[in-house]
């Protein structure tokens, strides 16, 4: 990593520089740098253990990277706790489902609206008129997010009663309800069948069309190559390559280290 970083493209929403994270001597992230321009679908790929989820957890404040910087919309995120990072406009879904199984679908999404809600303990306990009015707004916003994810008819069901594929969608709806500028999707296609994956691809495109930048970690190559504008390839915690899907598929280093020759994907 001696080469100078390329000149900054305009409107980088997220700029990660020299991010380092180690666990007991193992470098999970060894100086990762990349930039994500606003409005893109940006994918992070790499073999298992390459540091993709670690990167997400570092971006969200679950880990404390030992060095580097995470600039998001001209704010430094490094060192902020997760709920403050969320307040800056970053939403995410989880590789292992982290749904609130103790709530209904719409309530899950209403928690997603938490950042847009204002209610003091006392006002909430007394259910003052302002709280009542706000509840109506929150419900309406949540229904919008559910409609975008084609889940509106499931709103009243307990989140735990949904099939797996729909649970993953509820996570997306919940993250969208916060109106984030950047949405982090951690392996959204894992465990989905082909039809569901196709629907997911459309959903990701719709999310981008609604003005949300998407950062995607995914193993499903046809989905990644088909939906992303740019890709970042991680290997052993370092950046192996960065570029458009066409660049990446043509990059011999990526082919050697990761794709193992089978690079022909119908896009």
């Amino acid at each position: 990593m001696t080469a100078l970083p390329p000149p900054a493209p305009p409107l980088a929403l997220l700029a990660v520089t020299g991010l380092e994270q180690s666990f007991g001597g193992v470098m999970a992230l060894a100086g990762v740098s990349f930039r994500v321009a606003e409005g893109l679908i940006y994918a992070v790929i790499g073999p298992n253990g390459a540091g993709k989820t670690t990167l997400f957890n570092a971006l969200c404040g679950f880990y404390r990277p030992s060095a580097g910087s995470i600039r998001f919309a001209d704010r430094e995120l490094l060192g902020l706790p997760p709920h403050r990072i969320a307040a800056c406009g970053i939403g995410r879904t989880f590789q292992n489902l982290q749904l609130f199984f103790n709530m209904s679908v719409v309530e899950n999404v209403m928690v997603g609206c938490h950042l847009r809600a204002r209610a003091s303990l006392l006002a909430a306990a007394l259910r003052l008129p302002g709280v009542r009015r706000q509840e109506r707004h929150l419900r309406a916003w949540s229904m919008e997010a559910l409609e975008l994810c084609e889940l509106a008819d499931r709103a009243a069901q307990p989140a735990g009663a949904l099939p797996y594929g729909l649970m993953k969608r509820v996570e997306i709806a919940r993250a969208l309800a916060a109106k984030p500028r950047l949405l982090l999707l951690d392996e959204p296609a894992a465990g989905l069948n082909d039809t569901e994956t196709l629907a997911l691809r459309e959903l990701i495109a719709r999310i981008r069309a609604s003005g949300v930048t998407v950062l995607l970690v995914e193993h499903h190559m046809p989905l990644v190559m088909g939906v992303s504008d740019r890709l970042l390839v991680l290997d052993y915690g370092s950046v192996l390559a960065e570029g458009t899907p066409a660049d990446i598929q043509a990059d011999p280093r990526v082919v050697a280290a990761y794709l193992g020759g089978a690079v022909s994907y119908a896009v």
Partner: protein, 321 residues
């Protein structure tokens, strides 16, 4: 309707003494059940909704009781002012204690809250100058509500039940608000809750403080109703009973907690006739309910009823479809 259960509960509570006038079991046991409802509904906010165990909740119950007893008997404070002071003291103590303690998980949290409860109990026994020690404090004056002195079993029944209904109403409101959803989110997945912008430490603190306030409120009423307080009413056994009420009714249900409180109060009344066998039966029942109805009586039974209901609906020929 959101508050349908609440109105049904209120109507039952109001009708009981009318249907059974001068019935010791209704007014006296009822009042004691009402106090337990306040305690259980408050603790349920912390345990059922926020998912944090507390094995020391009797401490806050005791704090409210002793604040009222000490301030009214020794300093001649009006009872409502003493009640408010008790609430403030319990709230502040809970707030100060919440951050370090609620970082802990599972059995570590159980240990810390248990230890907290034991410490407060030891102080009640040992600080004889203030608390009267093991003998307690007698002669707590009656509750004075703006000139109306509450006296007699029926009046107390009314006051305590009104307070219990208030507790249920507040709890129902809280649960169905951004504050309550944040609590439930913390229970569901702390990671996801943080990513939704929920300050989890703050949410847990709020739950702890609110449940402490409910307990102190009940404690204050208890001190005036009994006209006497002693450490025995606030020891570890009581903390365990409170947890049992919440779990017995079914966690994460306000009415479940209320039903658990009423069920355990009645059970304890019923078990008294067994004298020396009381303890044995009490322990056996606790184990049996937790083994066979781990979701609790109320939640387990309502779910069974719901399943039965939907089975009946399905068996009827559908008209609109």
């Amino acid at each position: 309707m959101r508050l349908a259960g609440f109105y049904a509960f209120a109507a039952t509570v109001a009708l009981l003494p009318a249907l059974f006038p001068d019935n010791y079991f209704v007014v006296v046991v009822g009042a004691s059940a009402g106090l337990n409802v306040i305690l259980a509904v408050g603790l349920n906010l912390l345990m059922g909704y926020a998912g944090q165990i507390s094995l020391g909740h009797a401490a806050f119950f005791g704090l409210g009781a002793y604040a009222s007893a000490i301030l009214t008997t020794r300093f001649g404070w009006p009872s409502l002012l003493a009640l408010a002071a008790g609430l403030i003291a319990a709230g502040l103590l809970a707030w100060a204690f919440a951050r370090p303690i609620l970082r802990l998980r599972g059995h570590y949290l159980a240990m810390a809250t248990l230890g907290f409860g034991v410490i407060v109990h030891v102080i009640m026994v040992q600080a004889t100058g203030w608390t009267g020690g093991p003998d307690g404090l007698a002669g707590v004056p009656p509750l004075d509500l703006f000139g109306w002195e509450v006296s007699g079993d029926l009046q107390w029944y009314g006051v305590i039940m009104a307070a219990a209904l208030l507790a249920v109403w507040l709890s129902l409101n809280l649960v169905d608000s951004p504050v309550g959803r944040a609590l439930r989110a913390v229970h569901g997945s702390e990671f996801a809750a943080q990513m939704m912008g929920v300050d989890t430490a703050r949410a847990k603190t709020q739950a702890f403080v609110v449940s402490a306030l409910f307990a102190a409120f009940a404690g204050s009423l208890f001190a005036h109703q009994q006209a006497f307080v002693s450490p025995d009413s606030f020891d570890l056994t009581v903390s365990v009973e409170l947890v049992t009420m919440v779990v017995l009714g079914g966690l994460a249900s306000t009415f479940g907690a209320a039903c658990g409180a009423i069920a355990l109060t009645l059970l304890q009344q019923a078990l008294v006739v067994f004298e020396d066998y009381e303890m044995l039966i009490h322990g056996a029942l606790l184990m049996a309910v937790m083994i066979f109805l781990p979701q609790g009586l109320f939640v387990g039974l309502t779910q069974a009823a719901r399943r039965l209901g939907s089975a009946l609906v399905r068996s009827r020929p559908s008209v609109a479809a």
